[in-house]
């Protein structure tokens, strides 16, 4: 199943950086060496086995926009499934950014009226922590005002923290067909194994694809925990890569919790959180094993 994804925004706004970190195992600091994208770079990335994202990374220099809007208009904007538009929070010419943005939305509306639209307000690490919310709200308001009535979703992102994973998880899960069914099975598994929480990650990217919790309110966990875990484990996987050894699974505990993160189905990893001290590690491991067989059978080639 192929899905066309357009990645657009001004030159130097961070499009190629994000794509490289999420899909090509770059470290954030490796992106400092990226050179500007010329025209459109096409990348096919496999997600969850047989979902293929056909990523169009569109170089953002003004000259390219002229051809995107004129000569190549149809080629670019036809049969788009997702549009991801990136704004650089430190842009020196916001006016112009919005001209391009409006142009892109107009072309999308014309050629792919059903495309889903995501806007990333990027490089938020450059804004002081205390001001991030306010500045993001403000930006979001301006973006909405330029949206031509199309519905779109905004995220604040930075390659230097977990916000990157949050945004891309939400974006990509939009493309997974049977996500609701997957979630139901995950709910069952969480209940049967008396876990506090179960999270499913895509194997290659470690993006969160589904999660479920019992009594989460009682725990008062960090709202950003899933994307934080994505970030933490992905970093560690990359360190393992340097030693030619693959990451297989882990178990972390202290006096209050145990976390199990393990290779699950062919295309996923699972994390199970248990805080009830009555539950033996061995029991949890057996539950994970049984669930693995069950999920392999039900979601093998969906």
């Amino acid at each position: 199943m192929k899905k066309k994804v357009l990645l657009m925004g001004k030159a130097h706004s961070g499009k190629t950086s994000m794509r490289s970190i999420i899909f090509a195992n770059y470290l954030a600091r490796d992106t400092m060496r990226l050179s500007p994208t010329l025209d459109v770079e096409h990348h096919h990335v496999r997600f969850l086995g047989n979902l293929v994202l056909n990523l169009w990374d569109c170089g953002g220099q003004d000259a390219f926009y002229e051809s995107y809007f004129e000569r190549d208009r149809e080629t670019i904007f036809r049969s788009v499934e997702l549009l991801i538009y990136v704004f650089d929070i430190e842009s020196d010419n916001p006016e112009k950014d919005f001209d391009h943005f409006s142009g892109v939305l107009e072309a999308i509306e014309e050629n792919s009226p059903d495309a889903r639209i995501f806007v990333l307000v990027h490089k938020m690490d450059l804004v002081h922590e205390d001001e991030r919310d306010v500045i993001f709200e403000d930006r979001q308001r301006i973006i909405q005002a330029h949206s031509r009535g199309l519905s779109l979703q905004c995220f604040a992102t930075s390659i230097w923290d977990e916000t990157l994973y949050k945004a891309w998880s939400e974006i990509v899960t939009n493309l997974i067909p049977n996500i609701q069914l997957l979630k139901t099975h995950l709910d069952d598994f969480c209940r049967i194994s008396d876990a506090d929480e179960v999270v499913l990650f895509e194997r290659a990217t470690f993006l969160v694809i589904a999660h479920t919790s019992q009594n989460a309110a009682q725990h008062n966990f960090d709202a950003h925990r899933f994307e934080k875990i994505s970030n933490i484990v992905k970093q560690f996987k990359l360190s393992c890569g340097k030693t030619q050894a693959g990451f297989q699974g882990m178990e972390v505990k202290n006096s209050l919790f145990s976390a199990f993160i393990d290779a699950f189905t062919e295309n996923t990893y699972i994390m199970v959180i248990v805080s009830d001290p009555q539950i033996e590690t061995a029991a949890t491991l057996i539950n994970i094993k049984n669930a693995r067989e069950h999920f392999e059978k039900n979601f093998a080639r969906s």
């Binding site: 725990h219 966990f221 202290n254 209050l256």
Partner: protein
């Protein structure tokens, strides 16, 4: 305050990365933040590093090109200093004569002083290959030796060179070696680790300070950089995951009310240690983790004492006898505990 803490001084030219090293290692600043969060240091900055009870010291970050060392009382009672230079800022001659001057002044006060030279910023375009780094070190070593020959009595000074970058593990590994020289019971710890590794057929074992990720000691098998890096990264994983799911304030709301009474320390220093403790509350006496790799190696971490962790690399076969492994680690833990008690209250 019985015996004063040993001191580690950071010297070097302006913008060589002294404050960055201090912030990255001991204040959890991320390396890229040093790009825009650090100003030039105007006066010496003191930091007490005493998160664990085995390696404690005072770190002093000096302003760049600091020259008031002339009347050198600062070298009194000093066992080492770290000189940080910027490998990307050639030529080196001025910087290196500053270094040799410092060495000459310091050795007048303490002839056995240890000098650690951090050749910093060996990253980026200029240092993509290992060879480029080694060439740089070779050049600097020979320049310093040349320069030292012009002074009298510097033949036996102990100078060690390290290639470092705040963007990778090198700065942690190098600073670990600096700190190890200050640990009084280093030999004993090392032999305890040797025994542990031998009894369990482990590949390697490190004793880490969890807060700074510096390792205090390791067994006498050679350190392989990749293995060390994984152990160090594992500490991040354990702290981060525990911070999310094992924080005390999460599961027990009564505790928060108890904590509400913490009005005791309005004073600066005490405040700091309170927040430090809160921050690290999720690393506790039952902290423990195992990471399985596809090449049959298991990384195993266990709490040893407050803010200390034993991290070992072991084969899946040996790890299978986990009861035995845990028993032997228990013995090691006891020995360390005794050592700390003998040394007395901090």
């Amino acid at each position: 305050m019985s015996s004063p803490l040993p001191k580690v001084l950071l010297f070097g030219p302006r913008r060589s990365g002294k404050s960055s090293i201090k912030q990255v290692l001991f204040s959890k600043m991320s390396p890229h933040e040093t790009l825009f969060r650090l100003e030039s240091t105007p006066t010496p900055q003191h930091l007490i590093v005493d998160t664990n009870r085995l390696s404690q010291f005072e770190l002093i970050d000096f302003p760049g090109d600091w020259d008031e060392a002339s009347n050198n009382p600062i070298f009194l009672g000093l066992s080492c200093f770290v000189f940080v230079l910027d490998a990307q800022d050639e030529p080196y001659d001025l910087v290196l004569s500053y270094l040799t001057n410092l060495i000459s002044k310091a050795t007048k006060v303490n002839p056995r002083i240890h000098v650690h030279v951090f050749i910093n910023k060996v990253d980026g375009e200029l240092f993509l290959s290992e060879e480029a780094k080694y060439d740089c070190r070779r050049d600097i070593v020979s320049l310093v030796q040349e320069e030292m020959e012009t002074f009298q009595g510097l033949d036996n000074v102990n100078v060690e060179y390290y290639l470092t970058s705040i963007y990778d593990h090198s700065v942690y590994e190098s600073f670990s070696k600096v700190v190890q020289k200050l640990v009084p019971a280093l030999n004993t710890i090392e032999s305890l680790l040797n025994v542990l590794v031998e009894r369990n057929g482990m590949e390697k074992a490190f004793l880490f300070d969890v807060a700074s990720k510096l390792y205090i000691s390791t067994d006498s098998n050679p350190v392989d950089a990749a293995g060390y890096e994984l152990c160090s990264d594992m500490i991040d994983v354990v702290l981060d995951v525990s911070g999310i799911y094992g924080g005390r304030h999460n599961s027990d709301s009564n505790r928060e009310i108890d904590d509400g009474s913490k009005g005791e320390g309005e004073g600066g220093e005490q405040d700091k240690s309170v927040t430090e403790e809160e921050k690290n509350g999720y690393y506790d006496s039952e902290s423990c983790a195992a990471i399985h790799l596809s090449n049959g190696i298991v990384l195993y971490l266990k709490e040893v004492e407050s803010m200390l962790a034993l991290v070992c690399l072991t084969r899946e076969e040996s790890f299978g006898r986990r009861g035995l492994v845990d028993y032997n680690i228990g013995v090691f833990k006891e020995a360390i505990k005794k050592m700390i008690e003998v040394a007395g209250p901090k």
